[in-house]
Symmetry: C2
Subunit: 655 residues, 2 copies
Amino acid sequence: MKNEVEDAYAQVIKTVVIEDNFWSNFKKVVAEEVIPYQWKALNDQLLGTEPSHAIENFRIAAGESNGTYYGTVFQDSDVAKWLETVAYSLADHPNSELERKADEVISLLGRAQGEDGYLNTYYTLKEPQHRWTNLRDNHELYCAGHLIEAGVAYFETTNKRKLLDIVCKFANLIDSVFGPEPNKIQGYPGHEEIELALIRLFDVTRQQRYLQLAQYFINQRGKNPFYFDDEKERRAKLDTIPSWNDEHVNFGLGYEYQQAHQPVREQKSAVGHAVRAVYLYTAMADLAAKMNDQSLIETCEVLWDDVTKHKMYITAGIGSNVNGESFTSNHDLPNDTMYCETCASVGLVFWANRMLRVDTNSKYADVLERAIYNGTISGMDLDGKKFFYVNPLEVNKYQSKRADQEHVKSRRQTWFSCACCPPNLARMIASIQQNIYTQQNDTIHTHLYIAGEMTTTVAGQVVTLNQEHHYPWNGQIAVDVKLEQTEVFTLSFRIPGWCSEAVVRVNGKAVDVAAYIRKGYIYIEREWRLGDRITLDFAMPVERVSSHPLVSMNVGKVALQRGPIVYCLEETDNGENLAAITLSSKVEFTAAYEKELLGGVVTLNGTAQRIDPKQWQDQLYITGELSLVTCKVKAIPYYAWSNRQKGEMIVWINR
Amino acid sequence: MKNEVEDAYAQVIKTVVIEDNFWSNFKKVVAEEVIPYQWKALNDQLLGTEPSHAIENFRIAAGESNGTYYGTVFQDSDVAKWLETVAYSLADHPNSELERKADEVISLLGRAQGEDGYLNTYYTLKEPQHRWTNLRDNHELYCAGHLIEAGVAYFETTNKRKLLDIVCKFANLIDSVFGPEPNKIQGYPGHEEIELALIRLFDVTRQQRYLQLAQYFINQRGKNPFYFDDEKERRAKLDTIPSWNDEHVNFGLGYEYQQAHQPVREQKSAVGHAVRAVYLYTAMADLAAKMNDQSLIETCEVLWDDVTKHKMYITAGIGSNVNGESFTSNHDLPNDTMYCETCASVGLVFWANRMLRVDTNSKYADVLERAIYNGTISGMDLDGKKFFYVNPLEVNKYQSKRADQEHVKSRRQTWFSCACCPPNLARMIASIQQNIYTQQNDTIHTHLYIAGEMTTTVAGQVVTLNQEHHYPWNGQIAVDVKLEQTEVFTLSFRIPGWCSEAVVRVNGKAVDVAAYIRKGYIYIEREWRLGDRITLDFAMPVERVSSHPLVSMNVGKVALQRGPIVYCLEETDNGENLAAITLSSKVEFTAAYEKELLGGVVTLNGTAQRIDPKQWQDQLYITGELSLVTCKVKAIPYYAWSNRQKGEMIVWINR
């Protein structure tokens, strides 16, 4: 049931079947490798990795196993994210065996759930008497949020209600516990997540209470007096287990760490833990659109610009500091000590997705695209079995001896004790189709170029769009329109920000792009009929990207980008001491599709120059002009780095 | 009493009176500001700084005051370093009031000393029963070393024996406790220092036992089984106070932290805590020369090359990592997160000083000079009242929000709870004349160009050399020779490594430098007579220095150097965003002496270019060629940075 406010904003079109040379493979890897692999992880069946114990915790909570709780306070969320991934994956990779397993897990969750609806194995098993006493640190509402997201997804793709009912029951309990009424807790989560989940729950149930509870959590956040202060005082009188955050509270960042330092509408700068931040902003944007809340929309826009104009790596990595996994100051984007958690870029995708509902502006889709092709999928090996938590833009020889780079790994790892990233990336890939199209009344917006078929209803008619292309390796896109009867409506297509030369044709006839472009989208309104074909030719030269000079670490350097793909140099292709390679503006690159390399990628190949170390003889410092020697240089897509021999890697190359 | 072995090596000439436009001022600041200021610090008379309590600890130990021990385990060493500084300073700034104070402190030390000679207030007051139970962490022998150095210096400059007697008594006790005999402890200090001090004590007392004890500590170090392992086991059975190093032992660096991971002769790479390392190497070099120990000499040479060819900043800063204040891997020289402790560069000066006794090779004096004009004196404000512990080569806008730069300060501080650096720098300045000349038989080597008069005896005759110049601002040096009768001997002068064009004349007549140069020194043997004048003209153009390309952080950058002085850019002269300034090879600099600026310095002034941020409009990343705008650029000596407005600073400038 749509209402007027919702008509003012775009809706995501979810009926999309992907058949894409790039994403179909990633989805296949998720279906065939990641999901079974993570299932083993959740069940402690992986050798040589940290045990997860996540399923076992639920068994114990259900009274079906002995033993004690094990894992982080948010261990439940790994199961939830796995279920959510399974839900999406079943839509395009039906698998009755997997679905049966998922159903069993859902049953287990039901049996582990309290009669009152409560469902959190950490508190149920470790501190049943201390529910809701440490919202600041203990991820209770965060885990609830992930369970809710799983319930929504499983219902959407399988039409099965069981998990949805479980999470509604839990959400109802939470709604009875939190709120402005004097008998309720006036708190909000330390790690945001439940807000965006409750809005998704509203989307499928249309129950206003979930939307209102999300709104309450968002509006309550950061108000003075601070809830976490009061909570801490109350907790001091209880015999609670010390938390991970008790000692060096919030990493010295104060409540900025949780974006709870001031009311959200007063926040003009993205601060604190990057994943928390973007989860909050995702919910804010979604809520703002649902409520037509202009001040919240403005806040989201200000924060978006702050992140993307001051705090985002070229890979769409965010969170430049390991301390608190946090944002720091504007333009502070170190390449070797950064954090760039996979989850943070995944969260940026979610946020961009919501911003595209608020406003069809290519600045959101450009970042979304930057994230999905670079800083998110870099978090996983091509075979789906190893993962990065942290995504560096430079790996150097010093790494192994530098304490400030201890968190940076040059090889992906099999599993983490804090295993948030692998399932988060998996669910993003499995649901990638939810980012391609939105619809606002009779206009269909195409944000991403991912091949396959989309179906929706426009003016009462079923309309199908089919994308065909070899994106992101090739910028020639064909879109075929199918509908029974002719109908007037509008198709809009994003002209990517990286493209300076776009030719758009309808049935071979050029459209005047400059005349019909609005906020980065070309709008084509006409009487569409079966067999109409739109072609979009996006020129894809190799671009040299320069950072704003306030990003001091990148001055004098360029990054290579072709289409949406950011490139890097690896030692295995270019020899050691990658820093010695210099790319004068004269170096020309040839883009070549290499089918057998890294699952099939376009590489960039050119003749560059290298500073000749010989002239130093055996010294550290010399004076005078430097001599250069000619060398071959080969760049590969950043996301595919560290899939071959171990070694140095750089994104930013000396000019 | 010299022996044959000693004749094979050079001896430091200490009878030097400095009258130098550069160093006389630094010495005056030490005499008039630093010494009184540190006296106040030691007596807790400074407002708004951490109390020292160092003198009070001795009073309590002497039974003349109540109260309890306060401070680090090495608090005594601050008093020792102050006394050592006073000793040197009295030689050129006689001050009876100060000498009286020093004598009183020395009396106090005598009263605090145990009957057996023991003198350490931490153990005497806190754990009298646990002497020598934690050599690894508790700096007991380190403090003894500093006391010994003070005793030696005070005797050398005042001819008073009281402190020398005190420290001899203590050294005798230590000698009775440590050694290879079964009834002695087969240990060695966690923080080296006593080794070099014992050799100095041997120099003035000629007692072999001190030299042998130093040799024992050096040879015993790093042997397997490891002494610190055994000590830890024994300590576990005692009720000792936990140490600062118990929790995260040795910063995860193992015994490399203390250079105790293998016997010193097997050490080929400088590792661990940088100050400890260079103190050890200083002693090793001195011992090697005294003992004509070739394998130890070779080890020193290998370690010297390792440090100066792989691990030394252009400022002579060493120790690039805050974790353990340590060396890391080769070429890892970050400019903004480094450590570069003032004490480490001071220690490098001591080591270079000893290497010059082993071998008259300008590679040692070049580094010594680099250190004294750059990375050491940068540790002090020009007025001698504020100090840096850490000497960054870049201060950027991100600093305040970056946990990995927390240790880096952009302003010097008044005092530290761990106050090792200020008195260490003060004693280096006060004794700077000990680095200018060495003598080996009938050859006098001049290593540094510091104006003033040196007196020594050559072939039975008193010879005086008098340097006159405006070094380091001007490379024209005049050296006048005085002696009663003519005599044949050799004068050697270092041709600085930074100088590519040197003209040397004797009484106006040019000497063929190329013909008479050996290991960077020009040797002039002739019959010298009263009134002979040697002139050395060292061309001093502005040089652009480039780092070896393995130092990845400096590729594409140059540093400016003129003579021995390394330059930097400060925001106050050049505006913000110093990284945007680019120096093409065409930029010419004018060197100008500015008498009123920063106590009188040569500044470098040129016209450079700046990346124009306008072309980014409001974006973080753009493609295409960059436009540049012309700008003035002014560089000041690095050592004088942070004496005006707070702001950015860089040494390495984009090309």
